[in-house]
Symmetry: D2
Subunit: 276 residues, 4 copies
């Protein structure tokens, strides 16, 4: 029995019952290993990025994350270093020897993003930006597709279907919290999504506990929970000095905090027959 919506041609589990593995510059997402992607919400400067990248790599992260183009609710907020941020990302990634994922907010940014990054992120607000999905579907680059703030899992799989329809099957799905009535967290991380997406689709599924909760003190327990639920990876915000972060400091781990997270995740990964 497949749980996927009947009209999915590419994203349904039946299409590849053994599950897909997406190769991001040598890092296999969807394999036995739980892949840790870590880094700052926003690229701020070279020093910040380099120190973070080295530290998370040493602690066990397999990929670097960092925002150059930042979607912000208000036009008056800091919106990222843009092209300069992309250059810093690729320079630091090469120096440290770690693949990098970063967001493209628009089809016209795709060229620059693909030139500098190993994986393109489609953010929550763009999960149903269908022209962006189509454009990224024409490329041959790994895509990290984040769930929309109020998107159903069915809608998310149809968003993946847009990308796959163009010929690009290198898709990783990411649960990152949904909007509910609850006010004590920024979003409600929906871990039901992990086993359900895996039953419905063959694409790997990762979890972003930083945006999913919006509070640093919840990142460790929810990361353990995500791995126990079967996630293929985690996307975690880490900052050298969260108090001074230009964006989302209250949900970023410190570098020692990230080390502690790795410590706590290893036995959980083993308990569900995964490596970390």
């Amino acid at each position: 029995m497949s749980l996927a919506p009947a009209k999915l041609r590419w994203a349904a589990r039946d299409r590849k019952p053994e599950g897909s593995i997406v190769d991001v510059a040598g890092v296999p997402v969807g394999s036995r290993e739980v892949v840790m992607m870590a880094g700052p919400c926003t690229v701020e400067d070279e020093d910040q990025l380099l120190r973070t990248a080295m530290a998370v790599k040493v602690a066990g992260a397999r990929m670097l994350r960092g925002g150059a183009f930042k979607p912000r609710t208000s036009p008056h907020s800091f919106r990222g270093l843009k092209e300069e941020g992309l250059r810093l990302l690729s320079q630091v990634a090469r120096e440290v020897g770690i693949p990098v994922v970063t967001e493209a907010m628009d089809a016209r940014q795709l060229d620059a993003v693909c030139q500098h990054a190993d994986m393109v992120q489609i953010g929550s607000r763009n999960m149903q930006n269908f022209t962006l999905l189509e454009e990224v579907g024409r490329l041959r680059v790994p895509v990290l597709l984040k769930r929309g703030l109020c998107s159903t899992l069915e809608e998310m799989l149809f968003a993946a279907e847009y990308i796959a329809e163009g010929g690009n099957q290198q898709i990783v799905l990411c649960e990152r919290g949904i909007r509910t009535f609850e006010t004590s967290t920024r979003n409600t991380l929906d871990l039901n999504a992990v086993p359900l997406l895996k039953l419905m689709s063959h694409f790997p599924v990762i979890v972003d506990p930083s945006h999913g909760t919006g509070r640093r003190e919840l990142v460790v327990p929810l990361s353990r929970a995500a791995v126990a639920a079967g996630a293929d990876g985690l996307l975690v915000e880490v900052h050298v000095d969260p108090e001074r972060a230009k964006c989302d400091g209250e949900q970023s781990l410190t570098i020692p905090g990230f080390g502690e997270l790795m410590e706590q995740l290893r036995p959980v990964a083993r308990a569900v027959d995964r490596a970390l």
Copy 2:
């Protein structure tokens, strides 16, 4: 007392306490007149569009609506006639003598849309497509900004702020239903938004009862309610043969149904000192 978020520079009511009027090819939105915008969900062919446009104009609509580029959950659904649809829209609009509003889903469609339409619609899924908002902010074209499916009113005003920051102040806000737990309607039309947006901002506010409810039998009572709540206009789906519509037939009025709507709205508009 202004209810607007503190950081709004352009969209706050204080900026223009008397309220803005947006001129769309001679039709003033935000004046004493409640402006009816009507037409098919999707442009299907010339005959359908022309018959609908003539009929809604005769019944009292001041603007024609119709989709050429259609955002659809699944890539396998009909996604509009695209450029051909735009051409039909402008041809019919000229023939009938009625301004037209249609959606642009991407910055790269803006040129074509602006060439053929009098007002550009930013759809719900793109309310936080910030690059699209910035691009439309650089133009001098009236913009219909629809509320995102799970966007707060504050986020909606910041989306308007993105457009206004670029210099384009010709913005009309549109409530079109939000996503809630309720399953007996497609969306939950949030009429609180009408007086609240008008308290918070100087931009005109219209309502889309067709998407807001998703059910034809609710369009008339909710349209009356929207006008009574103070809406500056309505955006209504009308189809010559809803049973055969390629999209959203179950929420489209027939042509006689639109006439009946106009009949029922006139006394309500008068009751709140508006004309129709």
Copy 3:
């Protein structure tokens, strides 16, 4: 075509296609007249209640509302005058000559409430308190059933069904706002509920714009909208001095404010062929 869930035996529209009229001590709810029920959130003292009751009656209210037993989130908040509040309600109601509705929170309060009030209110938090519904179903007293904060319309009709199953068909349904992600209002008043409940069921439907929005400045426009949508009545909080109210002052109208509301509602009621 009935829109009601298939398993409704008593609440479905088909059961009484012409609609029910509920008689509350001589006031017919569900007739051509839009019935105004007004009064303080909470009974505080005799003077407050008497002045409010006289003023709202003079302005056109047909029923008095007021809480004696108050459900409060925290046990440390003021929870009403209880039995003393009931006595004040019935004394003032007799003096002023106006029927009164008040809430019973528990089956054991029903005797006292029925002795002093003309209509029993089942509050939002108790919409699925099934033993209370069954008890009230055994009585022959008019019931005001408020929608639960996150109850679907189908669940609401099944709650009415519990009451009706016991033999009590004197039920008035009340939309009072639902819980959504939106934070600028206390609740999201769902006016879709008005025409939809009337299509699904024969019971009268009224609206509580005070709880539905939580903000005084929204009560007038949403009341107009509710009447335009087809509501059979309104339940409105009015206080002689909202700044000093023990509960919900920010959503209560002043006495002149209630007079202004009545002024504005009359033409809207006429516009939809209703009296007020």
Copy 4:
């Protein structure tokens, strides 16, 4: 730093920073051991209950669950064996030697429930049935307080506060899924609640993955996730023959399924330094 709302006198973490342990007839909830509570949604007959109770005890459950009074959306659904169900529960619990938890829907059922059960459950629909909370606060019986379908964590702690205010501190909090827009699961299990409630309050926190997801195939992965997030126990529906269950069969584990769940949970519990 306490995260609890300022006005909590009894439920705040500060009140008992080391955390509370609730003793249910010898089973300590809130200790190092993750406590498994298992059994049928509804008591149907002696044979069903006895076989289930023995099987779950052998597999490692420490408590039996089972409904005698069943809150059902429709009055026409099976609503439990009531007093007869209570008698069966206590008889089987004695025979098998396992404490039992069951729901009381009304203050008037408390005597009977307390006579037959070791722990009283306050169900989701009654989380804000304040008179029931007050009554149970006067007793000296362990209470399982389930989160309301759309209750915030703050509201849940205030519900616990009602019970504690009466003098009864033997409270276990239970996350059981909230209502959101997502339609592919019955509810959205909110595992953020586990670490957050533990930061805010000293009461133990358990999780009900059966109602939380509504789908059998999600119970195992979400149970693992709940334990990894720090839950002090799980409440799981188990039926000897789910296809024939009178209620909620689609979310009930079979008896072998429960054994498999225990197998999978043990290494996860060890990974987070807990016993099972």
